[in-house]
């Protein structure tokens, strides 16, 4: 313990000395990334790593980025973040919800390092900043496309765990599919895993057997896309452009684009204006983006989708705008009323029209 504190203080002192002598101008700003998965997952961690590379390219030699992959949540995360801090990182970015306690513990010991935590909720030190993305905005757009393109009026949805993030996505997709196609039905299959290719493939099979001609997924593997390609069902990519797995049926993908945020925050740290925040950004900030539309989407549907992207991006339209009822028919949002972030962050109910129950 003693030694650790000593190291921490000396690291802090060194940091101060560096500022004092103006050495900071020459030595690059060091940014360390802690990944929950491998950058090659073609999904969530891939998105973060692409953003890291984009930031690296943007700043050139002024910034030095590094990453540690496959870091389990828990004591290992704390050890790795401490190591990063001791080896001179100026900023540490951690990408998973469960890093919260470790990140805050390390942040308290290294008050001069800026900590950025994706999808987190714990903010116990003044140098911990939280950020997340409004993926439901993207779900609203693909819901619109799905509602227009389904011919069987049955949309399949492969869901991971019944948490607000996933439920929000289901609701947003359903509301917007229903809006353009009142006959649409949504079948949700829960696989209780973020990543289980065999199970996800089987879920896609089952949905297609049931007559769904469009498959959406909120799980991370590309297995459902392979099934859709083989069976001729339409589908959307998850977290990154997955066209190569289903070139004929991949309509578009919701892309996690963290690059603008990383660049902005690293710039702030360079300028000395970095301060802890808690932000939830969406299409408007460029954090939620889309893969190029497949030519199979008719021009008028593409236009409609682009208009929706535009409206959400400019703030003119919110995907959860009343009138909306909950599944049991009770009123949720009145005409023109917009859902507040608190309700969205804790969403645990389906909107009216979705059949089936949320498990658990």
């Amino acid at each position: 313990m003693k030694r650790r504190e000593l190291l921490a203080t000396s690291a802090a002192a060194l940091g101060l000395a560096a500022v004092g002598t103006g050495a900071r101008a020459q030595s690059p700003l060091k940014v360390g990334f802690v990944y929950i998965g491998p950058p090659g997952d073609f999904g969530y961690t891939y998105g973060h790593d692409q953003a890291r590379l984009a930031a690296q390219e943007h700043f050139g030699s002024a910034v030095e980025t590094s990453y540690v992959e496959n870091v389990p949540e828990g004591p290992d995360a704390e050890r790795i973040m401490t190591q990063m801090a001791l080896s001179g990182a100026d900023m540490i970015v951690a990408t998973s919800f469960g890093y919260g306690p470790s990140l805050n513990a390390v942040a308290q010991r290294f008050p001069n390092i800026a900590f950025e935590h994706a999808t987190g909720y714990l903010q116990e030190a003044p140098n911990v900043s939280l950020f997340s993305a409004r993926f439901y905005e993207g779900r609203a757009v693909i819901g619109t496309i799905a509602g227009r393109m389904t011919t069987s009026n049955k949309i399949g949805y492969i869901a991971s765990f019944p948490i607000p993030e996933v439920i929000r996505g289901i609701n947003a997709a359903y509301i917007h599919a229903k809006k353009v196609n009142p006959d649409v039905e949504l079948s949700v299959v829960w696989v209780f895993s973020w990543f289980d290719p065999a199970q996800e493939a089987a879920a896609a099979q089952a949905l297609i057997e049931q007559g769904c001609d469009i498959i959406m997924q909120h799980t991370d593997s590309t297995a459902p896309l392979s099934v859709a390609q083989e069976r001729g069902a339409l589908t959307f990519g998850q977290a990154s452009d997955m066209t190569q797995f289903a070139p004929d049926v991949h309509l578009t993908a919701i892309i996690d684009n963290w690059a603008p945020y990383y660049i902005e925050r690293i710039q702030a740290k360079l300028d000395g204006t970095w301060a802890a925040e808690n932000v939830w950004l969406g299409i408007g900030a460029g954090e939620v983006a889309f893969a190029p539309f497949n030519d199979r989407i008719p021009a008028e549907v593409q236009e409609e989708a682009n208009a929706l992207i535009e409206a959400i991006g400019s703030g003119a339209y919110h995907p959860f705008t009343g009138p909306l009822n909950k599944q049991d028919g009770s009123a949720w949002l009145a005409e023109g009323e917009i859902a507040d972030d608190g309700t969205l962050l804790g969403m645990s109910f389906y909107v009216e029209g979705i059949t089936g129950e949320i498990p658990g």
């Binding site: 399949g156 289980d196 089952a206 190569q244 059949t355 089936g356």
Partner: protein, 310 residues
């Protein structure tokens, strides 16, 4: 929603596909355990096979060469376990767990440059007009080769274990290695060969996942299939045909619960998802009673190291 919206024919056809990887791994492990060795490294061998098969299939653009490579890779990696437990006399449980951890990490390393690639398609076997037969067509005559290989393997293992000299020697080694040794059988050699067979089968099962079932390579893609295969061997009480039935039952439960969900049934998903494991625990409990144990017949020397005395 009515129950009729689930087509039983297609359900059976898809459960056979869902069951094939665990069946392949389980039939290999069954032989290993019949020889008295408990190899908990099935998951590690499966995923090694998955990545090796995928890499070779992509490089050569031939899925069958990939499957062959998976067999070789599974057998090779199982030799680590064989050396540790049969020659160096290490604890089998610990070595098996180590093999799983090693396989998961090693495959992730090997597979790094293969992420995001689409493998060559494995064609379904062409049975001509037979495929168009009602009911039997989709169930029996519309699969890829490995589905048939897995069933043939079950039959072959069953026959070999029960009706061949080699199979009887293997069982003798598994039941009582001291007696087998006294009779002059090469206990260690038999066990090493069966471990290699188990590794080859697990590797092939892994390749089925990465080449046919999913088909793509991603880290950790076996997602626990190896453990289900291990449970299956116990569930089957070390009998090949029961392993087949068990695999189709486990595969069936998984496919059925997803189909029920998709058809809009309100079912407790969590319970169905855990049911293979619950069944296995029940089987273990029943087995632990003496009367049942005699009929279940776990190999007598299962999990014990053999050291030739004198």
């Amino acid at each position: 929603m009515d129950f009729g919206s689930i087509n039983p024919v297609i359900l059976i056809a898809s459960l056979m596909v869902a069951a094939t990887p665990i069946l392949l791994a389980a039939i290999g492990e069954l032989v290993v355990e019949k020889a008295g060795v408990l190899n908990l490294g099935v998951e590690g061998m499966m995923i090694t096979g998955a990545v090796a098969g995928f890499a070779v299939a992509v490089t050569t653009q031939n899925p069958y060469l990939g499957m062959l490579a998976a067999i070789v890779a599974g057998a090779l990696v199982s030799m680590l376990f064989a050396v540790l437990t049969q020659i160096l006399m290490a604890n089998q449980v610990a070595s098996g767990l180590a093999l799983t951890l090693f396989g998961l990490g090693f495959s992730a390393l090997l597979g790094q440059s293969y992420v995001g690639i689409v493998p060559p398609r494995t064609p379904k076997l062409d049975f001509g007009p037979l495929t168009d037969l009602p009911v039997v067509g989709p169930i029996l005559f519309n699969h890829d080769i490995l589905v048939y290989v897995s069933i043939a393997l079950v039959a072959a293992v069953w026959y070999w274990l029960n009706y061949s000299r080699g199979g009887r020697v293997l069982r003798a080694v598994g039941e009582n290695h001291d007696s087998a040794h006294a009779l002059g059988y090469k206990v260690t050699r038999v066990r090493i060969l069966s471990i290699a067979f188990g590794g080859a089968c697990a590797g092939l099962g892994g390749a089925y996942l990465s080449l046919v079932r999913v088909p793509q390579w991603t880290e950790g893609m076996t997602a626990g299939a190896g453990w289900i295969a291990l449970a299956l061997v116990v569930f089957a009480s070390w009998r090949p045909w029961r392993a087949l039935a068990g695999a189709y039952l486990f595969g069936g439960i998984m496919v059925l619960q997803l189909n029920l969900q998709a058809a809009g049934f309100r079912i407790p998903v969590e319970y169905l998802a855990m049911s293979p494991y619950i069944i296995t625990i029940l089987v273990l409990v029943i087995m632990s009673s003496n009367r049942a144990r005699r009929s279940m017949a776990a190999p007598g020397s299962l999990g014990r190291s053999f050291h030739a005395a004198g």
